[in-house]
Symmetry: C2
Subunit: 270 residues, 2 copies
């Protein structure tokens, strides 16, 4: 029963979540994940936790002793470093070699996984589109591209072709995905839409005022499904080209919401 | 700019505060202190932090390394134990031997004080009533009584008489207050309203369904100012007796709000 002397969104019974990063001011998880948790009826809040690199190893394991802590999200620069916090890792985290979510069960057990790439798969699933059986072209083998490649690898596509401006980086990612999914045809190769069913952009090309396309094409086939991980702007040059061709287009914002939904599932799993 | 996918009360820029206790579910600081901070225009939230006694010494000093932490409130059973977290103590904390608020300045400096008793003084101040020059009778020398006695000691009353069912406890508190304020006439003595200007109840007598008075009287003089630290019920048997006599009555809720106001001043001081 809130009065003007009380807020109604936090109390002694509220389950606490945090996002750990450096810097911290730019993160969007506090407002977005808190909204998702409360929309599902959980009495919970996710707050920013600014941890300096020199404090990480001594501070974060202690934080996990807070008895009402439900979990932590990890962002730059801690996704790989946080891997050491628990041995109980999901398959995606093991394949990527990084985590972005660590759930603390009420009995103190810790379990971690990474949801960056899962968010992309979830965005497609919500549109009724499966990767299984499709030929997929992924542009970009950096942080976002790695997580997306690993997540798609688990979805049994017919083939996954990975392009990066650094061919060695594309090769290394292809080997990693193939190792986790021996039955999937994964290769590093040139950026093309020939014979592809799905085109995914995980490069920064097209971000903000960048008017370039992430691959060298004049037009796209109408049957192609086009995804761009970029959130700002929503309509990147690639998305605009796809819309002119009449392609199905899936947005970075949908991946973000897909990820948040799957992370909240994870935090409140038994 | 909040959407339905975002809450508007926490973001990456929100300054973080916590209340540390064991147990934690019953605390009221999260909703009340957060309300006071946001009413003053601060982007800040105070969340519950449940710390087990065996974790306190290793965990709490590390928590204070969170760069966006603005401060911690300490409640049962940690008010005395938290004294060791900083050497920079206010006069009240030194006299009481406990803290309930620790401010972390943006440069990492820590300063602590105790505001339980200050809240009582603040409640009187807001009614335009000073303790200076008045004869004060305090009932109860436990945690709340100690903090109130120390805070009143600093206000230069004409006299302060402390009663407790345990005479040794009243004596010990009287010596402590006298030591911090050598010019104040502080004694342990019987519960009486004779020659008193102010009567303060800091015992649990009258709480909830307890129909007893905390002292043996049939009526109160109209000129007496009567305060009861009990919050539930608001109208204790003592308050009812005082209201029948036409006394000025001051409520536990006012002490709570006075304390919150002074703690938020302290958290956001330069």
């Amino acid at each position: 029963m809130a009065t003007r002397n009380e807020v109604d969104y936090v109390s002694g019974r509220t389950r606490l979540f945090g996002i750990v990063g450096h810097p911290i001011e730019q993160v969007r998880s506090p407002e977005m994940i808190t909204a998702e948790m409360t929309a599902r009826g959980h009495d919970a809040v996710l707050v920013p936790m600014h941890v300096l690199p020199e404090d990480f190893d001594a501070l974060v394991p202690r934080l996990l002793r807070l008895q009402n802590l439900g979990g932590l999200v990890f962002t730059i620069p801690y996704k790989a470093r946080a891997l050491a916090l628990t041995g109980d890792l999901g398959a995606q985290a093991r394949a990527v070699g990084a985590i972005n979510a660590l759930a603390r069960r009420p009995d103190g057990r810790l379990r971690a996984d990474i949801f960056d790439g899962v968010g992309c798969v979830e965005a497609f699933r919500r549109r009724g589109i499966a990767f299984a059986g499709r030929n997929v072209m992924l542009l970009g083998a950096g942080g976002a591209g790695s997580a997306i490649a690993v997540a798609i690898g688990f979805e049994q596509p017919r083939s996954l072709t990975i392009f990066d401006v650094d061919p060695a980086r594309a090769e290394s990612l292809a080997r990693k995905v193939a190792a986790a999914n021996p039955s999937v045809d994964v290769i590093a190769g040139a950026a093309t839409v020939a014979r592809m069913d799905v085109l995914l952009n995980a490069t920064p090309v097209g971000m903000l005022a960048d008017a370039r396309l992430p691959l060298d094409v004049d037009a796209l086939p109408r049957e192609l499904i086009v995804f761009d991980a970029i959130v700002k702007p929503e309509r990147t040059p690639l998305i605009e080209l796809a819309q002119r061709a009449g392609c199905t287009t899936i947005f970075g914002r949908e991946m973000m919401h897909g990820q948040i939904s799957r992370m909240v599932d994870f935090f409140f799993a038994a």
